[in-house]
């Protein structure tokens, strides 16, 4: 199997209320990536489009708009996990020799059907993601004594990180009191425990090892783990204090990359709700089971340096791609104001639909 590197990336400013289409957004990020890095577009032989938008045949449309005629072109739609799944597919295509240079572009509009889970009848009337997040939070609080303040600190941290990211939806810090006093949405989840759906795009270019050798600071994908448990919330996790799909995906990713959790310097974790970042600490082996709440203030691993989903906003199909772009830029030493010093090994963790599926990607220089 060939090695695969992330060679370049571009992420648009995440926003709300744009009149641009998903195709306009996708092309903006892609064109920026191609122009800023002098990429010969005719060498791109795969285009993978990540989005939950209703538009059909979107990968071919984006390819044509970009003037690319790739050998491989298709769309990947897997709710919040779409972008990371698209990266995994591009990795596999290159590793197997099916292509040499794959453009992965993720984008979303705020009215995406991916924001409401109407198909899952086990959720009854409670089809918004916040309802299952509240059930996870209650379970973690009851079993381990995790507090609402510990969850709120995740929001405080990630909003603070987002102030260093000019492309984040939120550019303002929030303090503990603001989070705690924000409107209750589904107890114990409050407004500032929740991410906001928004619009934006992110594009990355994956290349074969041969092409990566010509780069100054290649960032390699060292291992990927993916796991789908179910589609419905009801079957996703027998124990509601853990996300089973993420635990399994992490185990696979660590095995394939020959990496241990203690070797991770920097991570992008799925924090659509604050409780999910706390559970992720435990599922990834950063913290012992039940100690995620107390791990929030640790300094050993830089967690969500771009601001996470809480600080950046959540354009569903773009999120996973933007997470990989962030870790690549950090490991390449090109993360501008938010650069974390001396990071060599990074991790991306992403989930969909109550953690019914997950992806974990380990990257390194």
């Amino acid at each position: 199997m060939r090695k695969v590197a992330v060679s370049s990336w571009a992420t648009s400013t995440f926003t709300k209320g744009t009149t641009k289409s998903v195709f306009d957004l996708a092309c903006e990020a892609s064109v920026q990536l191609i122009r800023d890095n002098g990429i010969p577009a005719n060498e791109i032989d795969a285009v993978l489009f990540s989005s939950c938008a209703a538009d059909q045949y979107s990968s071919a449309i984006v390819s044509e708009m970009l003037g690319i005629s790739p050998r491989i072109s298709h769309r990947i739609d897997n709710l919040c996990n779409s972008g990371t799944n698209a990266v995994a597919s591009a990795f596999a295509f290159i590793a197997s020799g099916l292509c040499n240079m794959a453009l992965v572009v993720g984008t979303e509009k705020i009215d995406s059907p991916g924001n409401k889970l109407l198909w899952d009848v086990t959720r009854g009337s409670f089809m918004f993601p916040v309802h299952w997040a509240a059930i996870f939070a209650k379970a973690h609080m009851k079993k381990y004594g995790t507090t609402e303040e510990e969850m709120a600190m995740v929001s405080v941290k990630n909003h603070k990180n987002a102030t260093k990211n000019p492309r984040a939806l939120f550019g303002k810090e929030v303090d503990l009191e603001e989070v705690m006093k924000s409107k209750s949405i589904a107890s114990p989840i409050k407004l500032l425990d929740c991410s906001a759906p928004c619009e934006g795009a992110s594009a990355i270019l994956l290349v074969s090892e041969e092409k990566a050798r010509t780069l100054d600071n290649p960032v390699f994908i060292k291992g990927i783990g993916q796991q789908t448990i179910s589609a419905s919330f009801a079957k996703a996790s027998p124990d509601l204090t853990t996300v089973e799909s993420a635990r399994k995906a992490a185990q696979i990713a660590f095995e394939r990359s020959h990496t241990k959790p203690s070797q991770i310097d920097i991570a992008e974790l799925h924090d659509a709700f604050t409780i999910l970042e706390i559970i992720a600490y435990e599922d990834l082996g950063f913290a012992k089971r039940g100690e995620g709440g107390k791990f929030v203030n640790q300094q050993q691993i830089a967690i969500n340096p771009r601001g996470g989903i809480l600080g950046c906003g959540h354009p569903v199909g773009a999120t996973g791609v933007a997470q990989v772009a962030e870790i690549a830029s950090q490991l390449a030493g090109k993360a501008e104001k938010r650069q974390v010093k001396n990071c060599k090994t990074g991790l991306v963790h992403n989930l969909a639909a109550a953690g019914s599926s997950a992806s974990v990607i380990v990257m390194g220089v």
């Binding site: 109407l118 959720r123 009337s125 309802h131 009801a234």
Partner: protein
Amino acid sequence: MSYLKGTEGCYGLVEMSGIKLIGSFDTLELKDGSKVKMVRCGVRPNGTPYYFFEPVKG
């Protein structure tokens, strides 16, 4: 408790013979492991299902 418009009220996870559902309750006096029975269910005009439960006394 959910405070979202259209889904206000008490809700929770119910297990029925191995099938898990998120249902609505008219009471806040439920604890983990409480026995409940389904009192009504159906599909709203907008296509979303609903399941209502109440505690089993005794």
